[in-house]
């Protein structure tokens, strides 16, 4: 299934680029944007494919060997650059996921065990508010507080070549983790599922046995729901990363995407789109693997 989806992903990207004015494929396949006549000549001379399906396969083939073309802006090959900055985005997104979990899990589990209490209503409202709050503004707020009250100035540490302090990492991670709106979804889903599991008959048997309730409820009440909901939040976190990287001038894939969109740098944005989709699918795959491992009844696909 994942395989077909990845094919689908490449098709979607291909279609978008194909329909675009300006013939991005000449750029991708030939590396530059010559004039129409020259292009035609070169095409015939070099045997560059002209039909849409042969273009597709040529393009796919190039990608599979790692050739994502060269950036229009910098003239450098896309893939190495992407790998370099992609790492920063992975750190940002991964850290944000951790933050989200660190906040959401205790809240959800507490609510599940203690039931509806007086504080659950304000917390729900708070969750709504945070998910409606614009991420970029939250970023500036945190930045302002950090700069004014803590004297931290984390701008563009990479380009300055100075040693990046840990706190430079923490700020954008904190912002993305708290502000992406994932927290309220995680809390809601986890609380629902763990309450449900705690009422299940087999958990009652565990209690009657004098066994540790959580040891039995863990798989279905925690592991499965958490992986399920986090897998669906990966695309939102990546999207949020684009914004957070902008606010903090964080040298990552998001900022690269923004730059590429500004410059119409097709190879770069295309590569990023594929990379992002790949990350999302990896997230889903991890969740499926966990599910299958835990569940004795599921069969491998």
């Amino acid at each position: 299934m994942t395989f077909f989806l990845l094919i689908g992903v490449s098709v979607v990207v291909f279609v978008i680029l194909y329909l675009a004015p300006g013939d991005p494929f000449s750029v991708l396949l030939e590396g530059e944007m010559p004039t129409e006549a020259a292009r035609e000549g070169i095409r015939q001379a070099m045997g560059v494919p002209t039909t849409w399906y042969s273009q597709y396969f040529a393009w796919l083939g190039k990608m599979l060997v790692g050739d994502f073309g060269t950036s229009i802006r910098t003239g450098m090959p896309v893939l190495p650059e992407l790998l370099r900055v992609g790492w920063n985005t992975l750190v940002l997104t991964g850290g944000a996921m951790l933050v989200t979990l660190l906040v959401a899990v205790p809240v959800a589990l507490y609510s599940a065990v203690r039931g509806v209490t007086l504080i659950s209503w304000p917390l729900t409202i708070l969750a709504y508010v945070i998910s409606a709050l614009p991420l970029f503004w939250l970023g500036y707020l945190v930045l302002y507080v950090a700069m004014r009250h803590f004297g931290i100035f984390p701008f563009a540490f990479a380009s300055l070549g100075s040693e990046p302090k840990l706190i430079y990492f923490l700020l954008p991670i904190l912002v993305l983790g708290l502000g992406s709106g994932a927290i309220s979804e995680v809390v809601r889903h986890l609380r629902e599922e763990s309450s449900r599991v705690l009422d299940e008959e087999y958990v009652r048997t565990a209690r009657a046995k004098g066994a540790s309730v959580w040891r039995h409820a863990f798989k279905e009440g925690f592991l499965l729901p958490v992986t399920a909901i986090m897998a669906t939040k990966v695309p939102f976190l990546i999207g949020g990363a684009i914004i957070v990287e902008q606010v903090f001038n964080w040298p990552g894939m998001g900022r690269m995407a923004w730059q590429a969109a500004q410059d119409r740098d097709y190879p770069v944005i295309m590569a990023i789109a594929i990379a992002a989709a790949l990350l999302v699918r990896i997230g889903t795959l991890v969740q499926r693997v966990v599910y299958v491992t835990v569940n004795p009844r599921a069969s491998q696909e």
């Binding site: 087999y202 009652r204 048997t205 209690r207 046995k209 066994a211 004795p296």
Partner: protein
């Protein structure tokens, strides 16, 4: 007194309906005693409070307000404990017209105290098996591992290999087919009957003093039901384990119980030796009589005669009437007792040779 393994005294377990703003008086003053070595059967229709009684003994009631009064003495010779000790500290009651109308309970403190009291008892000294065995076992773990857990928690066989041996031994003892194979199966791969055998194995592997069986055969196919009953009878003969058996199936009770308690509307209405209670005649509570009479005998089934149903609906444990709880449905009321039946709830009267009946007809 000292022969009682478990003595329940004036247990009350209430639930609260938010929408109706009223108490559901599931167990409304139940007192029972189980002697060592005997099987006590609790019988009654759905909703009479039998399962809730058992869950209250195990401290498994989590709904609110839950258990609010009572004393549950467990004494197996080495251990002597009131499982509801210190309960009064966390509960305040107020009554109106003899009925509890107001409950203030610190559920957190109460639960903590209950868990403290249950430690060492729940699972190890008192083990419970449930209805619906497939749903009652952890679907993510192999059956054998779940039994091993019970062994390691509650017996001296804490080594892994040792415990596995014991678990296997118990699987064999419950006469499950291909025990070695079943040991590694997950519950979904077992039939209902096999799962119930495994559950029994899991409960007994902990070597408890008391086994509580809550509707162990309900939900299984008819033929399997009798096999499980046979198994329980065999185990009873082999091990002599004290059992609290709950069922609405008179046949199961008849087969396995030494003494029987009949429950209705959250109270015990009759108790005594199995033979006496299940006679279903003049010497029994009208409800017991009606229950026994409603079981179609073979002859009746063949002749396709009308089933003898009990008039009326099961008592709604929210709206409890003033007098005898069974009065509305009783077909044995005589003029002599009618007034008392309507106004005053009877207590348990002695009916001779250990039998007691909660009915004005038996008043001295």
């Amino acid at each position: 007194m000292s022969a009682s393994l478990l003595k329940i005294d004036n247990l009350r377990t209430y639930f609260y309906s938010r929408s109706k703003r009223a108490f559901i008086r599931s167990v409304d003053g139940v007192s029972l005693a189980i002697n060592r070595g005997e099987t006590l059967g609790i019988v009654g229709e759905s909703g009479c409070g039998k399962s809730v009684t058992a869950l209250s003994v195990m401290g498994l009631i989590t709904a609110t307000p839950g258990v609010i009064t009572g004393r549950i003495d467990f004494a197996n010779g080495t251990l002597h404990r009131n499982l509801l000790d210190g309960l009064d500290q966390s509960v305040r009651l107020s009554e109106e017209e003899g009925r509890i109308m107001d409950v203030v309970k610190d559920s957190g403190a109460w639960q903590r105290q209950s868990d403290r009291l249950q430690r060492g008892v729940r699972g190890g000294e008192i083990a419970m098996i449930f209805q619906n065995p497939k749903a009652s076992m952890n679907p993510f773990e192999p059956v054998g591992a779940q039994i091993v857990e019970a062994v390691r928690l509650h017996t001296e066989h804490t080594g892994k290999k040792e415990a596995e041996q014991r678990a296997l031994h118990w699987l064999e003892r419950v006469r499950i087919d291909s025990p070695r194979l079943r040991f590694h199966n997950h519950p979904y791969g077992l039939s209902g009957g096999m799962c119930q055998r495994a559950m029994i194995a899991m409960a007994l592997a902990a070597e408890p003093s008391l086994l509580i069986a809550d509707e162990p055969t309900t939900g299984l196919d008819a033929t399997i039901q009798s096999k499980i009953v046979d198994l329980l009878a065999e185990l009873k003969a082999e091990i002599g384990i004290t059992t609290l058996l709950i069922s609405h199936d008179m046949g199961v009770i008849g087969r396995l119980a030494d003494r029987v308690a009949v429950m209705y509307g959250g109270r015990v209405v009759e108790e005594g030796g199995a033979q006496q209670v299940l006679a279903g005649g003049e010497g029994n509570h009208p409800y017991t009589r009606a229950l026994i009479a409603s079981i179609p005998g073979a002859a009746e089934v063949r002749q396709k005669s009308y089933l003898q149903a009990i008039e009326g609906d099961v008592l709604d444990t929210i709206n409890i009437p003033a007098g005898c709880r069974f009065y509305e449905r009783c077909n044995r009321v005589t003029e002599a007792v009618r007034e008392r039946c309507a106004d005053c709830e009877p207590q348990l009267f002695d009916a001779g040779s250990g039998q007691r009946v909660r009915c004005w007809l038996f008043a001295p």
